[in-house]
């Protein structure tokens, strides 16, 4: 290839890449701009503090926020001990090549990529029907717990694996039992990783829709117990846009609230992963 055409290709590719990046940037600014333009006028304190009225077209989203909160609470109360236990077992108590460790690792990899609608089917068959929980906040929360488990385990496990080996050897030299080393030394040092995993899991759970449609259900009333059906923010958006003519404005406003939650959680996790981990370890 002669020199002239090489430079032509270079110029051409530069132009194409800048154009693509520019156009995509514009596309997404358009998307986010639309969300804000349509959603912000509808946002107000009343929107947060009032129950939905007229199928969600007017009124607010209080009961939906409460249901969302309860589902996330159930999800984390169940997923946290199992996730932490699994992470500790995988990193501290077993070799990576042990059959149970490889089996659990493989399962978690598969679990991480199971389509959310399949979690919904499983949740419906197992929690709603077999355990008889019906369409309830409890069923929804338990289904989400299965879903966030992989991210929780993997993040926490990496946190434990990142701790220096000297922690364990010095503790052993001092005659501490394995349990004492774990509770007094390793766990406090790995707390940041656990919190990051927790926040990432929350972010994944709050964004979920398909797994919840037929586990926690559609009901938009204020839940009175965990056995009531409850609708999350994401299901509210889906229902308003698909089944309620004239619900677009409220759907946009709810979408803004949801995005705000997700973004806060994600940036919190990023910030912690960057800063907190380091300072914690230095103080111990």
């Amino acid at each position: 290839m002669d020199k002239h055409s090489l430079f032509t290709y270079d110029m051409l590719s530069t132009t194409i890449i800048w154009t693509v990046a520019g156009l995509l940037g514009c596309l997404f600014f358009w998307l986010l701009g639309d969300l804000m333009r349509q959603g912000i006028p509808h946002l107000s304190w009343e929107f947060i503090s009032e129950p939905p009225a007229n199928a969600g077209r007017s009124g607010g989203i209080t009961s939906i926020l409460v249901s969302t909160g309860l589902i996330l609470l159930i999800c984390m109360v169940v997923a946290l001990p199992i996730g932490l236990g699994t992470a500790i077992f995988l990193s501290e108590y077993t070799a990576e090549t042990h059959p149970l460790a490889t089996f659990t690792g493989r399962s978690l990899d598969v679990l991480a990529s199971v389509p959310s609608i399949v979690f919904g089917l499983f949740g419906n068959a197992f929690f709603c029907q077999l355990l008889g929980l019906g369409f309830s906040i409890l069923s929804g929360g338990l289904t989400l717990a299965c879903m966030v488990l992989p991210i929780l385990v993997r993040t926490t496990e990496q946190g434990f694996r990142a701790l220096p080996l000297e922690y364990r050897t010095s503790a052993a030299a001092l005659g501490l039992s394995k349990r004492a080393t774990l509770i007094h030394l390793l766990l406090p040092a790995a707390i940041p990783a656990l919190v990051v995993g927790f926040i990432l899991g929350l972010g994944r759970a709050i964004a979920e829709t398909a797994a919840l449609i037929f586990t926690s259900g559609y009901v938009s009333r204020m839940p009175t117990s965990l056995f009531d059906s409850g609708r999350t923010l994401s299901i509210h958006i889906y229902d308003l846009s698909m089944n309620v003519p004239g619900g677009d404005q409220a759907a946009y406003a709810t979408a803004l609230v949801l995005i705000l939650c997700v973004l806060t959680l994600n940036s919190l996790a990023q910030w912690m992963a960057k800063h907190w981990t380091y300072t914690r370890r230095m103080n111990i």
């Binding site: 800048w18 693509v20 389509p115 609608i117 399949v118 979690f119 349990r179 889906y238």
Partner: protein, 292 residues
């Protein structure tokens, strides 16, 4: 730092107890996938027994209330939407990653990257909402009816593009500095350096990312459900409405009973199998690469 004597001085018994607790937690996490598979199989068994596996491809149509269960049009719909989105998102994602890594000035690159990370976090139902309210009417102006395979492909592309970009970017960042310095010293133009040195070296990493996103596109439900029109048919053009396998489950699960319900679980089982195969193939590729 150490609060109690008991915990340090009586190791064996407590240690063993804790070990068993932790092991059972890991066991629960491990058998969860097996549990999910078991439930899908047992719930879809009636479909195997009552109508047989061939009925799902040979029946004249999908009318569960009349006893016909042809899943093929929806499978084709899923495939078209997935293939379309992946072929669009892959080059766009790679070009954007190249932009961030080699073309944009530092300040623009880091801003653009933060922006892409923000987009990767937006829930799929929000993309679906935007597609339904903004994109579908635009397509309807272009060529009615509007909700269509085309809308589905565009929304899926918009959804998986940020992650393809981020994965490609992290692959690009792993290219050794010496390669770039060497290429620059030899007087390569920027594009020939990218085409002949950087892309061949980062291809496996990018491909893994793309495969994972393919799995995500196959399993995506909400956004597709909101923009595709959900008519069960073989699309004859890009602008025909389609229904995907996932959308079908979400739409009909609420009222399905007996064989109908079982066939929806069978669809779920099928989706799970595809995704597992996709995941396993990327892991296989990764381990081959490590030894190769």
């Amino acid at each position: 730092m150490i609060w109690s004597n008991a915990i340090t001085s009586s190791p064996a018994k407590g240690d063993r107890f804790l070990f068993h607790v932790l092991r059972s937690f890991a066991g629960i996490a491990g058998i969860l996938v097996v549990g999910i598979l078991t439930f899908l199989v047992s719930e879809s068994l009636p479909a195997f027994q009552q109508i047989g596996i061939t009925a799902f491809v040979t029946d004249p149509s999908w009318h569960p209330t009349e006893g016909t269960y042809n899943l093929l049009p929806m499978f084709i719909g899923t495939m078209y939407a997935t293939i379309g989105a992946v072929t669009l998102a892959t080059p766009l994602g790679i070009l954007t990653a190249l932009f961030c890594q080699y073309y944009a000035p530092q300040a623009i690159a880091s801003g653009y990257r933060a922006f892409i990370e923000l987009l990767a976090g937006i829930p799929s139902v929000v993309y679906g909402l935007w597609g339904l309210v903004v994109l579908v009417p635009l397509i309807a102006d272009l060529r009615p009816p509007g909700p269509s395979l085309f809308a589905g492909i565009l929304i899926l592309t918009i959804m998986i593009f940020p992650t393809v970009t981020l994965v490609s970017l992290s692959a690009l960042q792993q290219v050794p500095k010496e390669y770039i310095q060497g290429a620059t010293a030899l007087g390569c133009t920027r594009w020939s350096m990218i085409r002949q040195i950087i892309l061949p070296n980062t291809w496996p990493g990018i491909l893994t990312g793309v495969t994972l996103q393919t799995g995500r596109a196959i399993g995506e439900t909400m956004a597709i459900l909101m923009v595709c029109g959900n008519v069960v048919q073989y699309p004859s053009s890009l602008f025909d409405p389609i229904r995907t396998l996932t959308a079908n489950i979400a739409l009909e699960m609420a009222y399905a009973t007996d064989t109908h319900r079982a066939s929806l679980f069978l669809t779920g089982l099928f989706l799970l199998t595809i995704v597992i195969v996709v995941i396993m193939s990327t892991q296989q590729a990764r381990s081959n690469q490590a030894y190769g």
